[in-house]
Assembly symmetry: C2
Homo-oligomer: 283 residues x 2
């Protein structure tokens, strides 16, 4: 079977490569890469999986060309091909999944709505599969310790597509309701003041000593993991490759690990029972 | 080298198996299972990876015995063994990571603080590694479409270890600040009223027509994916294996997919440019 010329609708897989290291890519994503005809992605992500897609058609583009990549992927999949859109992290968390689905529904509506559409254009929609991946929140939590054992809010500080007022409201609400807060996109070459403003808003309802964990280049070359407190958040060099976790009122940093307890405070006596060897089943 | 009797500190890996299907377990977690001497976990999770750990020492226990499992793992790792603690989802998101780290630090403080501690007891702490995994939020988002393209709050409705007042405050704050909301543990055999109360709180600042996506048994046998609106949240049978995503003010359900746009509203003309074939680089 030459899948490149099947008369049936194609296959559109949207995958996330996780933080970067190959051993954090789920096998399902690898399978999609191996089985597809065509790979679409940002240059740096394609480099990460170049060995898996040798001989396949590859469309690379630059970081900001998301619409171009998504549209190409949709058009090729509608033409019957097996297409894989490559994202970093989890394609479903601030990733490419939304844009690809958006453009797919747009293109379909245009085609089906047009009286001049030929039957070839009215082909069935491609099979779409989004493969979940390890997002920055999963990766960074693992490297910091266990900060996400309780309710948390995930907020991007990028105001390129979102009014700052919306972001500010969310920061204040999350701080007041004692969520652990995960900050994506804290800063970039063009955005400098947002992290300071976020700090100011968080300090309105969180103590200055609130523990903060930071990870730069999680599971990549140059990985750095460090801790500070909310009042010292701006002392260190935070860049666009850094993800930040701000603790809730119970979070502590102990022996180099950030822990948000889940409420097992009464387990001390149980620990002793197990130690005495009287309280476990072995198989 | 017989790692079971090394004089050095052991290795303590805390892994998450994802939602259940093997092709969503990261290779790093598989490697930890293969390399360890001893596996500790809840019975059902151990069953999922039984083929990978044949011949190894296995400690299984029931669902509620988390403290017992964590303590056993810590004690064996401190005795120099390579231990793997098995969790579902991501061990770092409402998972076993926090409890294990908590007990580790407790046992260490007790040992080092005790004047009678022997030098054997004062051995160096084991190497601890938390391996990130696919949590329900990653899995459910992928199955629903792309609901997590914008800021979101993750809230567990279990009030076994958290006062309901804290949870209620978070629900209200998340709704008012227009977060997408992911609900873990919406109900259980013993907890029935929490989901209705959550609905009431969310409706205080969200329209009745707010889209809601539900997934039961994500990537497991009996998987079900369906959509409703906030006012009809209680019409369907939600159980403890269901995760719920409540959209923000921009989320829509279209052609069977839940999409929260990220703000690319002006991409229509770009789609046409790419269609004309004038706007892409191939490699």
């Amino acid at each position: 079977v030459n899948s490149k010329h099947t008369p049936y609708a194609g296959h559109l897989a949207i995958i996330g490569l996780g933080p970067g290291s190959r051993d954090l890519v789920v096998p399902r994503a690898i399978q999609m890469l191996v089985e597809c005809d065509l790979v679409v992605g940002y240059r740096l992500y394609i480099e990460q999986i170049r060995d898996l897609v040798e001989g396949k058609e590859i469309h690379v583009s630059e970081l900001t060309h998301e619409v171009e990549r998504a549209t190409l992927a949709v058009l090729h999949a509608r033409a019957g091909r097996r297409v894989c859109v490559v994202s970093s992290g989890d394609a479903g968390i601030y990733g490419m999944a939304g844009l690809v689905l958006d453009i797919l529904s747009q293109v379909q509506e245009e085609t089906f709505g047009s009286p001049s559409a030929t039957s070839a254009e009215k082909r069935p929609e491609p099979l779409v599969e989004i493969v979940p991946g390890i997002s920055a929140l999963n990766a960074v939590a693992a490297l910091l310790g266990a900060p996400l054992m309780h309710d948390f809010a995930v907020i991007s500080l990028s105001d390129l597509l979102t009014p700052w007022q919306t972001i500010a409201h969310r920061l204040s609400a999350a701080a007041a309701a004692d969520f652990v807060v995960v900050l994506y996109n804290p800063t970039s070459r063009k955005r400098h003041w947002q992290l300071g403003e976020a700090q100011r808003l968080l300090l309105e309802s969180r103590p200055a000593t609130t523990p903060v964990g930071l990870v730069r280049n999680a599971y990549r070359e140059g990985q750095q993991v460090w801790f500070t407190t909310l009042d010292h958040l701006l002392d260190d060099d935070v860049d666009m490759f850094t993800t930040i976790v701000i603790g809730n009122s119970c979070t502590r940093v102990q022996q180099g690990r950030m822990i948000t307890p889940r409420g097992y405070e009464r387990h001390v006596s149980q620990v002793h029972e197990v130690r005495e060897g009287t309280k476990h089943d072995s198989v």
